[in-house]
């Protein structure tokens, strides 16, 4: 699934919303009981399974394999017509003696929505605008979990003797949910599906 090279900035509002999320979450955690809205299934949650890179015409491209395991609550929302956005964030980090430096960041995202009339899952690439449809939920999650040839960084920016790592994170954008659902999503573990940052070696 190709991604264009100029996708370094996320769509309007998505990043700001994701920055606001932890603040709101902290506020809600402080102001009320947590966990009443539902508990996530033990198997749910996004996970970056594999991240590899290869060079192509002077660019380093990334191939990712991500397991998008939605919780029953998230899937229920999806089945009931709620659109869900997922994002994948990538960072190229130069390892230093004292501290690490992020030298490149990339983002890609998908908006998933069910099409009631055709009973298909419609996936739209939020950066390219391309859409694809899937008849089954498993097909959909399997397909969006495979990202290939995602432009990462110009090879010229990678020094031969440098030490780099690729950091990847997959997240669910609560801010893109309908506003009535957001407060619940912020305090409910069923909607806390984002993965941690996972780090992979990146050979120059």
């Amino acid at each position: 699934m190709p991604c264009s090279a100029n996708r370094s900035e996320p769509p309007h509002g998505a990043s700001a919303g994701r920055m606001l999320g932890p603040l709101l979450l902290a506020l809600l955690l402080l102001s009320g009981p947590v966990g009443a809205a539902g508990v996530s299934s033990a198997k749910s949650g996004f996970k970056v399974l594999d991240a590899t890179t290869h060079s192509h015409q002077g660019q380093r491209l990334a191939d990712l394999r991500i397991a998008f395991r939605f919780s029953p609550q998230a899937r229920e929302a999806l089945e009931n017509g709620v659109a869900i956005s997922v994002f994948v964030d990538l960072e190229v980090v130069s390892l230093g003696y004292l501290w690490d430096t992020t030298i490149a960041t990339r983002h890609t995202g998908r908006r998933i929505q069910i099409h009631a009339l055709s009973k298909q899952y419609q996936v739209k690439n939020l950066y390219t605008g391309r859409s694809s449809t899937y008849r089954s939920f498993s097909d959909m999650t399997a397909n969006i979990g495979i990202i290939k040839n995602l432009p990462l960084i110009e090879e010229a920016h990678l020094q031969a003797d440098g030490h780099y790592r690729l950091r990847v994170r997959a997240s669910l954008d609560i801010e893109s949910l309908p506003s009535p659902l957001r407060p619940l999503a912020y305090i409910s573990a069923a909607w806390q599906l984002s993965s941690d940052w996972t780090s992979w070696p990146l050979q120059p």
């Binding site: 606001l20 709620v82 097909d139 619940l184 912020y186």
Partner: protein, 736 residues
């Protein structure tokens, strides 16, 4: 900080901001796209704002509790008002909140109706059925086209695709090989270079020889019917191929399908979001409730403070006035009754202040007059004593205390009859006072014995009307009486001397002439008799002359030549004369080296010393005389308002004789009083006269310790109080 927490503008701004934010949040919940994106931000803003408001209320509450515990004025009233205001605000707000929630839930539930839901389900099902029929038709036709294409060779396949596309009404026809690569494609839009590719799942399905037909949304073109069928394998030379046809919906059908899809999707979403929607609205409503309650609480604090502030000021002002601070001025808060109360308080304090100032001025005036009178009385040489209505001593000036030789404080509050209890010598004074108070018209003359001296006092009195009391005025006229006596005595002495001295010289001359004329002529006993008689006459006349001269000296009041005199040196000089004498006088000196020079007439002091030494010599058989001088520099006299007087120098002359007879001592310094058979009785009188001319005092006493003997003690001031420093000549006092 205080301004931020108690000022109305910041709080109102916060409340208005929260209200706007809550309104926007409510709109966002309602689905307004404008605020939907900032919903979380609004939630955070509202929560933070409410937390701030909450903290503000808590701060106010804690402050109020502290004030109540500290019993600050107005704190209890403020707390009562806050409780009343809060209760008045809470009850309706909570009721409205409950009803609002109930109506809100009912309103949300009323959105969803089983029949509508069923109709929508039916509509979507109907749509699907219609589409399925339509799609099956497209599948059949696509299979036919696939067979037609199967008959074409590779060279004509492109043209064939174009023809078939035009005939079929498809938007796009694409031929794929087994690997999913595009073999040929035909699109109604010639600018579309890349054909739409089915996803891997579809390709996999087709490879399994299962045709695909589906309703797919294709890009921005809306719904399309996607049909993917396999071409017969035998005709293609063993290479499996697949044909994908994308058929567009008719416009009408597309609009209807999209409408049904949109309505159904929206309904499903709303139905799913029913519970979150209720929670979200409840959250918004709760935030509004919280904002209302907190605002009401704060308004209660603010209003209570506004109401209580002037009352508190009034209470504090009253306390300040009670404490004596009449400068308190309360700023009028409003034109209502409280404002009128504050103005009345200000008027009251002003009136009190004016009255206090007037009273203070009167008091100061009285005090000033009192001080003036005290100053006058203190500097009067006349003694003044006032008695109160109970006839007890109320005031006593310095002159009175000096005359009576007591401390003024000793007699204050005492009845005049009880003054003898303080000083037995005041018995006569008490008797005099009684006489005066019993209506004696003429001044009473009292002889007062004080400290070995006697004073003559004239006492008068009068009744005081307001305040009731009695005024006693008395003068020490001892000096006046003595001066009158001195004048009389001097006059007697002068006349006596004159009258006696005149015949003495003829008597002496006559006796000497008799002797000169008849002594040589006479013989025998007659000659001896004449010689003896004339010698006796001459000697007695000489003695009488001496006596007359003494009288003359006593009566004479020459001009004093005052100069600085060292008494010690003077004593040494005089004593030296007696040492050279052959009278075997045993003179012993004890002179105080600290003795200062005094302002005095040296010659007259010399006369004092001669008289005293002579008296002492004549009084003692062993001719032992002790002369000593003393100076007690640590004893000061005089009050603080005047230049302090130096203590007097003391001159003691003591003999080893039998001492003065006790009855002689009170009269020792009176003229013509003597214990000697041949004395004129003027020696000590002259001494006293000279001492008094110098402003000093003389005292006769007998030695109380050691060997017996008479003592004459003279106190001489270092500087006579009435003499100016530059004045060296003092005219004799004129007595009349």
């Amino acid at each position: 900080m205080n301004r931020l927490t108690t000022g109305i503008v910041p709080i109102l701004a916060l409340v208005v901001l929260l209200l706007i934010s809550l309104t926007m949040m409510g709109n966002a919940t309602d689905g307004t796209a404008r605020f939907d994106q900032i919903y979380s931000l609004l939630l955070v803003i509202n929560a933070v704002g409410l937390l701030l408001l909450c903290a503000l209320i808590i701060w106010n509450l804690v402050r109020l509790l502290q004030q109540v515990r500290a019993k600050r004025a107005g704190a209890r009233l403020t707390s009562k008002l806050v409780i009343v205001f809060a209760l008045l605000a809470f009850t309706p707000v909570v009721v409205v909140y409950q009803f609002s929630l109930k109506f809100l839930y009912q309103g949300i539930d009323s959105w969803f109706d089983v029949r509508i839901e069923q109709a929508l389900n039916d509509a979507i099902e109907l749509g699907r059925t219609a589409l399925e029929v339509n799609m099956r038709e497209h599948l059949k036709r696509t299979k036919v086209f696939a067979e037609e294409l199967n008959n074409l060779d590779n060279l004509n396949i492109g043209t064939g695709l174009d023809n078939i596309r035009r005939l079929s009404g498809a938007r796009e026809l694409t031929l794929f090989d087994a690997a999913g690569k595009v073999v040929a494609s035909s699109n109604e839009d010639p600018t579309t270079l890349v054909p739409n590719r089915p996803n891997d799942t579809i390709l996999l399905q087709v490879r399994k020889n299962r045709n695909y037909i589906g309703l797919d949304p294709i890009g921005d073109q809306g719904l399309s019917i996607r049909v993917v069928v396999n071409l017969p394998v035998a005709a293609s030379g063993g290479q499996p191929r697949a044909l994908q046809a994308l058929y567009p919906f008719t416009d009408k059908m597309s609009v209807l399908a999209n409408s049904v899809e949109s309505a159904y999707g929206r309904y499903r979403e709303l139905a799913y979001l029913r519970k979150p929607l209720k929670i979200s609205f409840t959250l918004t409503l709760s935030l509004v409730l919280l904002l209302t309650l907190l605002s009401a609480l704060w308004a209660a604090f603010y209003s209570a403070r506004r109401v209580v502030a002037p009352l508190r000021d009034l209470a504090e002002g009253t306390r300040a006035v009670a404490g004596g601070d009449l400068e308190t001025h309360l700023a009028p808060s409003s034109d209502d009754e409280i404002g009128f109360l504050l103005e009345s308080f200000n008027d009251m304090t002003q009136n009190l202040k004016r009255a206090r100032d007037q009273a203070s001025a009167s008091r100061n005036q009285v005090e000033s007059q009192r001080r003036f009178l005290e100053a006058v009385l203190a500097r009067l040489s006349t003694g003044v004593i006032t008695l109160d209505a109970d006839q007890q001593v109320y005031t006593c000036n310095a002159a009175a205390a000096q005359i009576l030789d007591i401390q003024a404080g000793q007699i204050l509050g005492r009845h005049p009859d009880s003054l003898s209890a303080i000083e037995p010598n005041l018995e006569q004074f008490s008797l005099g006072v009684r006489e005066v108070m019993h209506g004696r018209e003429r001044p009473a003359e009292i002889l007062l014995e004080t400290s070995g001296d006697s004073k003559i006092i004239t006492l008068t009195g009068t009744t005081l009307a307001s305040p009731p009391g009695y005024l006693l005025v008395f003068d020490d006229i001892t000096a006046l009486v003595r001066a009158q006596r001195e004048v009389a005595r001097s006059e007697v002495a002068r006349r006596l001397a004159h009258e006696i001295k005149n015949p003495l010289t003829p008597i002496q001359l006559s006796a000497e002439r008799l002797r000169h004329k008849y002594l040589e002529r006479m013989h025998g006993d007659d000659r001896d008799t004449l010689d003896r008689l004339t010698r006796t006459i001459v000697q007695q006349v000489e003695a009488m002359k001496g006596m007359v001269n003494a009288f003359s000296d006593y009566a004479r009041t020459p001009v004093m030549q005052v100069a600085s005199v060292s008494l010690n040196n003077l004593v040494r000089d005089v004593v030296e004369l007696y040492r050279n004498d052959d009278q075997h006088l045993d003179l012993e000196l004890e002179l105080d080296p600290a003795l200062p020079d005094i302002q005095a007439d040296e010659n007259r002091l010399r006369q004092i010393l001669h008289n005293l030494i002579k008296n002492a010599f004549e009084a003692s058989d062993n001719h032992q005389v002790l002369i000593s001088t003393h100076y007690h520099a640590d004893t000061h006299r005089g009050d603080d308002h005047e230049r302090p007087l130096l203590p007097p120098v003391e001159l003691w002359v003591r003999d080893r004789g039998p001492g003065f007879p006790p009855d002689f001592i009170p009269r020792a310094f009176d003229p013509y009083v003597t214990t000697k058979t041949r004395g004129s009785g003027l020696g000590l009188a002259i001494v006293k006269k000279i001492v008094e001319e110098h402003g000093g005092a003389v005292q006769a006493m007998n030695a109380s310790e050691g060997p017996a003997g008479a003592i004459v003690k003279i106190n001489l001031p270092v500087e006579h109080p009435s003499w100016n420093s530059g004045r060296t000549t003092v005219e004799p006092e004129e007595y009349s």
